[in-house]
């Protein structure tokens, strides 16, 4: 079998040199066995596996054995193959645990829905020889938006008035992309900081990874909207603020915080950023406070959220003296 892969690589990608030549897989059911040097064959196309994808959290690499970083031998393009892995697990948001499912079917459906829409990762899906629904994804050439923002080498005030308005305009477009999903009866399902990327070349913000599915709830969009709120607060603050890191960042300031200043879900995160940065317009801070422990009214739709957020961009520009 190794010879088969060797010949494939030689024929389709002669410039590639591999340390090992593995097997050709038409059936991806046993994805743990598929690794570096193997080839996955789907509908006559060949994908050379380079490695398993991994998620980094708290400095630890968590390998995702069902997600393979590949080279499409026919075109030479980098691709990500997501193989079928049915998993039920608990998504932990603060103190709340939500039963969550990985659904290849949902992700394939959304890929179809958003084809050509630059606000989402792009890809196609197809069945392997055993009927497993494999998603073949384009690699987003960019950086996580939160990392991009964090690394802007400016103090908060400069960043807030000079950079944030443009970032918020792009972010609003990302929110409208989520509204587009909702309007079509879909949810993203996993709106976190590491799932919104910024492309290097175009600066376009791109949503990735939408295979999480849930039991229906009375407010189907609540989870997505909370994710958008948390992202907004991060972008406005340029980072997360907690009581712990505040002692280092603003050691010289005396800031009195109360329970209602913290996130409704992540009890240690400060959302009342105006207490930290008094120049934040009240209107924008009110949007943040919808996600605080003191909130009495919640956003039920992305439209409601955007309605409040949109005028804030102009307010920041005016306060910052920009035209």
């Amino acid at each position: 079998m190794s010879k088969e892969v060797q010949e494939l690589v030689k024929r389709l990608r002669p410039s590639l040199s591999l340390g090992e030549y593995g097997k050709v897989y038409d059936d991806t059911s046993e994805f743990m066995k598929i690794s570096y040097g193997d080839v996955i064959r789907l509908e006559g196309q060949h994908y050379l596996v380079i490695r398993d994808e991994a998620e980094r959290s708290f400095g630890i690499e968590d390998p995702k054995y069902w997600v393979k970083r590949c080279i499409h031998l026919e075109s030479g393009e980098r691709k990500i193959l997501k193989l079928v892995f049915y998993e039920k697990f608990s998504l932990k948001l603060g103190d709340i645990e939500i039963p969550c499912f990985r659904s290849p079917r949902k992700e394939a459906r959304i890929l179809e829905l958003v084809r050509g829409d630059k606000r989402f990762m792009q890809g196609v899906s197809c069945l392997d020889s055993k009927g497993n629904l494999v998603r073949i994804l384009d690699v987003v050439s960019g950086k996580r938006l939160d990392h991009f923002v964090f690394e802007i080498e400016k103090g908060h005030k400069e960043y807030f008035f000079q950079d944030l308005p443009a970032i918020l305009e792009n972010f609003m477009d990302s929110c409208r992309a989520i509204k587009f999903l909702h309007d079509h009866g879909e949810i993203h399902g996993d709106i976190r900081r590491d799932h919104l990327w910024r492309e290097y070349k175009s600066g376009q913000y791109v949503w990735i990874d939408f295979d999480y599915a849930y039991e229906f709830e009375e407010s189907p969009f609540g989870l997505d909207i909370f994710g958008l709120g948390s992202l907004l607060i991060y972008l406005a603050g340029k980072q997360i603020y907690t009581e712990a890191n505040l002692q280092h960042i603003m050691a010289d300031k005396q800031i009195e915080l109360e329970e209602n200043d913290f996130s409704l879900l992540y009890k240690n995160r400060i959302v009342n950023l105006k207490k930290l940065f008094p120049y934040i317009p009240r209107e924008l801070n009110l949007v943040f406070m919808h996600f605080s422990q003191g909130a009495e009214v919640f956003y039920e739709t992305v439209d409601e959220f955007l309605y409040d957020l949109e005028p804030c961009i102009e307010l920041i520009r005016k306060k910052g003296g920009q035209p």
């Binding site: 948001l93 709340i96 009375e218 189907p220 609540g222 409704l264």
Partner: protein, 150 residues
């Protein structure tokens, strides 16, 4: 609007049982009341299942459970003196849709003057993420009284 025509929205929860008991206590053997126990089954999404067979099985189980609950709650109302012809049951199946909306649509089409619904204690965070059926009914129901039983 006939306030004696009462729609009790139920499910398999203890709150629904309490709401039904409350209606039994209030109405008892009084004349002129008409009670409908409504169970809206919101089926799990197809996406959560690896194949159609397991999804269909789950839907079947949910429906059977709802039928059983309706039958038990109807019997419960009889113990408060409500006669057989005063209490009816109804099961509605929906998918990817609001239970509160289904209850309000049924209230409107059936001309019910009162909706009764149980409420479980929800934290603010849960209400944000998942939404509350009873809150939605309180906010949006029209031309009827709403009793929320906690």
């Amino acid at each position: 609007m006939n306030y004696k025509k009462i729609l009790v929205a139920v499910d398999a929860s203890e709150n629904a049982r309490r709401a039904t008991e409350y209606v039994g206590e209030i109405v008892g053997e009084s004349p002129g009341f008409e009670i409908t126990l409504l169970y809206v089954v919101r089926h799990a999404e197809r996406d959560l299942f690896p194949d159609d067979k397991s999804w269909e099985n789950r839907k079947k189980q949910e429906k059977e459970k709802a039928k059983l609950v309706l039958s038990e709650l109807k019997t419960l109302l009889h113990t408060y003196g409500l006669s057989e012809d005063t209490v009816s049951t109804r099961l509605i199946e929906i998918s990817n849709f609001s239970i509160a909306q289904a209850v309000m649509d049924f209230q409107k089409s059936g001309g019910f003057g009162t909706i009764v619904v149980g409420r479980r204690g929800m934290s603010k965070a849960e209400e944000f993420l998942f939404g509350s059926i009873s809150n939605k009914i309180v906010h949006y129901a029209k031309n009827c009284a709403v009793w929320v039983i906690e």
